[in-house]
């Protein structure tokens, strides 16, 4: 061991240098820690990014539009990027910004849809058979989520009525029940009991037969990406988005009002009808206004999401407050 006084005066670092070095070191640590915190923070909390691969949809046609049928909303469409990176699809993730990544690579090969129940011709369709029933038409619909955000989406598909006409509902059929795929392997969100899987939805038969009710297989002229409900989903533009069941595997015609996933999850918050209605609030938030994705500021929400002229007659005499 060396005696302290053996260190010669020349070897002792000049205090000015020592403190400079210390300051230099500390500044370095501060900067490095800030960068590290920034990286960790960004990893834990970042909006959705990435590009979704697309496959063009064959044979897309444009339906003749008139001001009355509501097939083409005269509003700027939400960007493809936003439509594919802001999704409510709990089968993959409850994080709207995380669905795209969680659903990437979802395998729909060999997809079949069973159309059954009170129909003259029950049948299991392959996806190709189902899509060949009628050419896909472009329909530009407003989409209003129950969470008070909205989009304008150029769907591709055909009216559900075309399928129902093929299978011919029987006399006693009054409702249509829909069911999503149940497969926790392919849909990792189903491993958690957030909702009662599989997702089920339903419509009254007259709602299902309405020309606006769409069996959609694409957006922006491309096949539906997984995060938007590949390969086949329902779109009911005058109802809140959760009625638009995704990745459909079963369609059943029934006599009684079918159970629906959200109305079972929150009976006083989500109803069977779920018609967009600015006058009937969600118990926890107002439905009077909405945030249009891609635009700033809130806009008033329209009765039946702006489709009152087309669908208002379906609900004549119905108490919309009780039947929310």
């Amino acid at each position: 061991m060396q005696e302290p006084d053996k260190i010669s005066q020349r070897e002792i670092t000049d205090p000015a240098v020592y403190f400079n070095r210390r300051q230099f070191l500390q500044t370095g640590i501060l900067a490095a820690s800030a960068v590290a915190t920034g990286v960790v923070y960004h990893e834990l909390n970042h909006p959705a990014a990435g590009v979704t691969k697309t496959v063009p949809l064959a044979g897309l046609t444009t339906t003749p539009t008139n001001a009355d049928n509501g097939f083409h909303a005269a509003e700027p469409a939400t960007s493809f990027q936003d439509i594919t990176h802001y999704n409510n699809f709990y089968e993959f993730s409850t994080d709207k910004e995380g669905v795209a990544a969680a659903a990437a690579g979802f395998n729909t090969r060999g997809w079949q849809v069973s159309v059954e129940g009170l129909v003259r011709h029950p049948r299991v369709f392959s996806l190709a058979e189902l899509l060949s029933l009628s050419p896909p038409e472009e329909r530009i619909y407003r989409m209003r989520c129950v969470e008070t955000w909205s989009m304008v989406i150029p769907w591709a598909g055909y009216s559900l009525s075309k399928l129902l006409d093929v299978v011919e509902p029987l006399e006693g059929a009054r409702y249509v029940a829909f069911e999503s795929l149940l497969d926790p392997q392919r849909m990792p969100g189903q491993r958690a009991d957030v909702l009662n899987w599989p997702y089920v939805e339903g419509l009254r038969l007259d709602e299902a037969m309405h020309p606006l009710t769409l069996l959609a297989s694409g957006i922006y002229g491309q096949a539906l990406p997984p995060q938007d409900g590949a390969p086949l989903r329902l779109v009911v533009p005058w109802k809140y988005g959760f009625k638009g069941i995704k990745s459909i595997v079963k369609i059943k015609l029934v006599a009684e009002q079918p159970r629906t996933t959200w109305s079972e999850a929150g009976p006083n918050e989500y109803g069977f009808y779920a018609n967009v209605n600015p006058h009937v609030d969600h118990p926890r938030w107002s439905q009077a206004t909405e945030q249009r994705i891609g635009q700033s500021g809130r806009r008033p929400t329209l009765m039946f999401n702006g489709y009152e002229a087309q669908v208002g007659h379906l609900y004549a005499g119905l108490d919309l407050r009780a039947n929310f």
């Binding site: 923070y41 960004h42 802001y86 910004e97 969470e147 955000w149 938030w285 945030q291 809130r298």
Partner: protein, 208 residues
């Protein structure tokens, strides 16, 4: 720990706590906040307020259990950041979501219980921020100051309930926050039971 090191540690906490706000601001400036930027900013700042509230409440148990008395320095900074993020959370809601409309903000708040709970949490943090300076601690006296600053528990409970109430269905995250908060508050309850402070024995630098 000497003064130099303590000063350095203070700077470390001060700087790193600001990082999320800086990243958020940077991303907002570059339009990188996703499809619903306002909502993203509101959710993020709310979450940060909760995280900082819990970090603030973590300091004392950690200090007692580890014996690292010096970490007490960070409590004020973390608490002020909790207030900062909560205030930012409200201001973004007021400005970008409600369009600076006082009428719309108030009417929403009166109608929505979760907003009332949230604003309660923010408001109880105001006196805490105001009395966070050394001069105010002296003016109030340690005992009264500590009693006042138990409002931090109210703020944290209100924050977690506010979060829980507005989640649509997947309550796993708010429940995780609630669990951590329960542990932090439970520790304090347990500590009071175990070591009842004799009357008039106000320990310096104490406070749970």
């Amino acid at each position: 720990m000497n003064d130099h090191d303590l000063r350095f540690a203070k700077r470390l906490v001060l700087l790193n706590s600001a990082v999320p706000a800086v990243v958020l601001g940077w991303d907002a400036w570059h339009h990188q906040l996703g499809a619903n930027p306002v909502n993203f900013a509101i959710l993020t700042t709310g979450m940060l307020a909760l995280v900082f509230l819990l970090l603030t409440l973590l300091v004392t148990p950690l200090r007692v259990l580890s014996g690292w008395n010096w970490i007490i320095f960070s409590r004020r900074t973390l608490g002020l950041y909790a207030f900062f993020y909560a205030a930012l959370h409200f201001l973004i809601f007021f400005s970008l979501d409600r369009g600076f409309s006082v009428a719309s903000t108030v009417s929403e708040m009166v109608q929505r219980k979760y907003l009332l709970v949230g604003i309660t949490g923010l408001l109880v943090m105001v006196p805490l921020a105001v009395t966070s300076t050394n001069a105010m601690i002296k003016r109030l006296g340690g005992k009264r100051w500590r009693a006042l600053h138990r409002l931090a528990y109210v703020a944290a409970v209100a924050g977690v309930i506010h979060y829980y109430m507005q989640v649509k269905k997947d309550v796993r995250q708010p429940l995780a926050f609630a669990a951590v908060l329960a542990i932090l508050l439970g520790y304090r309850w347990w500590a009071t039971l175990r070591r009842p402070v004799p009357a008039g024995a106000g320990k310096a630098g104490g406070g749970l």
